[in-house]
Symmetry: C2
Subunit: 328 residues, 2 copies
Amino acid sequence: MKNLFTLIFVFFSLTGFTQNQNFAIAIHGGAGTILPENMSPEMEKAYSAKLEEAIRAGYEILKNGGSSLDAVQKTINILEDSPLFNAGKGAVFTHDGENEMDAAIMDGNTLGAGAIAGVKTVKNPISLARKVMEASPHVMLSGKGAEQFAKEQNIELVDPSYFFTENRMNSLKKAKEEEKDQGYSPTPDFKFGTVGCVALDQNGNLAAGTSTGGMTNKKWNRIGDAPIIGAGTYANNLTCAVSGTGWGEYFIRATVAHDISALMEYKGLSAQDAAEEVIYNKMAKLGGDGGVIVLDKDGNIAFVFNTKGMYRASIDKTGKLSVAIYEK
Amino acid sequence: MKNLFTLIFVFFSLTGFTQNQNFAIAIHGGAGTILPENMSPEMEKAYSAKLEEAIRAGYEILKNGGSSLDAVQKTINILEDSPLFNAGKGAVFTHDGENEMDAAIMDGNTLGAGAIAGVKTVKNPISLARKVMEASPHVMLSGKGAEQFAKEQNIELVDPSYFFTENRMNSLKKAKEEEKDQGYSPTPDFKFGTVGCVALDQNGNLAAGTSTGGMTNKKWNRIGDAPIIGAGTYANNLTCAVSGTGWGEYFIRATVAHDISALMEYKGLSAQDAAEEVIYNKMAKLGGDGGVIVLDKDGNIAFVFNTKGMYRASIDKTGKLSVAIYEK
């Protein structure tokens, strides 16, 4: 009898059943030319602390048996409320000196999705995206109509001045100076990126969410990849959950998030291999820059980017926390 | 020697080289509950004539060595200018009695794409989408910003009253009557559908385009699948060009257009089999309705829909014209 127990113990140890949970979470806070020489120790600390705070909040929900959708929303809310990231409070300015935010959330269980584009008064765009998914017959709302829906649904609205930050206004001024020489050529302000979260809950349900202020100096009510299902955001219980960050136009053209899922579903690639194929080979070959976080249905996490850095964190299925900024 | 010529002739006949051109084109004008008993002979004739006029115009461009992008744009312009279809002139009304149009175009050669959402004064939305692709650093513009861009690019603008048609206003009134009983539940006005075109030119380049007024009675600046790259519109020279029509929310959630391409690229499915898998199995299982036209890189055409009918036409690589409305 003792031998049997020992055998069972050894079996579970080898298969990892004693160590592994069946839930996990990963986040990003933007990818780009993030170099150690441009970061003060204080800034590094501030970013790392906020990433850790956010991911721990989401992890806590998963640990208590909450849904991956709740974990994604709560985690992103914390990043949206911080001026460090280009989403919510820290959103960048458009050419006209406004803040126009995009967000999307997707439920890997039902393939339900909600997305909003170009809202100016919604404190937490990801919460509105969730409400679009759950309380409207539509997937994607935009502009004033999305704000009207937010009002009807008692989503918190704020005066546009809430989104004013000195840093972002300086970025806009700098972009406009550069524009004088080279014409209108907005590039994503990579250092201050989009935020995103992917989570797998104890019921085996995946969810993905992305929230962003888009590109500094953007014009013409431009919509980026974050609210485009299959481009910057995608989740499917058959495969994985994905959130992207980077030069949105390339993410749309390469349908990055759905392509990663398709490579897993149809070619049997791992999350890591699928993400590398799409980011390094497909998206990069079009000329794009950026990265993705991918969480597969078994809780494996991949961080893949072709930039110098990506603000990121994860708590994997062994419960291990990782927080990182640079390439290595 | 005579025998050799005969042999060569037989070879080319058998392989179809004497018959087949290397270009082809297909269009749709919406899918839905289109039943013979609800159509007068005059209406049938009007739809068929307009479909034929449009596809012949696109075909002429291809035959003369023009690009698939030009063929797609020109063909869709003709459908947009007709009040028969839910695009351009015949766009349906929103809840607020306005016309808000979406469109996208994609170049299978470069994976370049242009999309617009929610424009109210652009006579030919597909032409603006093309301009976004070629003259802006962005893929997707929306609302007033897209109209501002149109103005800067000398795209033809019209007074919103241009889009008023008695038929569409009656549809809105009817939808609002129904709403009184069942609450807000917009459904795509299937009988008057979105328009789309896929083309393959003599250089082997595929292109896809879609243009729509969206759903009758839509609210909150809803954006549908037509302008979402990978949902209602997609083109890739490696695989196929796709344009969709139907209940846009399901096309977005199932990333219909890119999924068809992915099944061809990664699993080697034919255009027909890939479209059937996505429309019959994936999209329909979510609860959606609609159809797609798919043109593969070798000029094979698939029309697949799970509705009672789809306005459609093609001129295939043998030069044969087909125009059809109903299921059989």
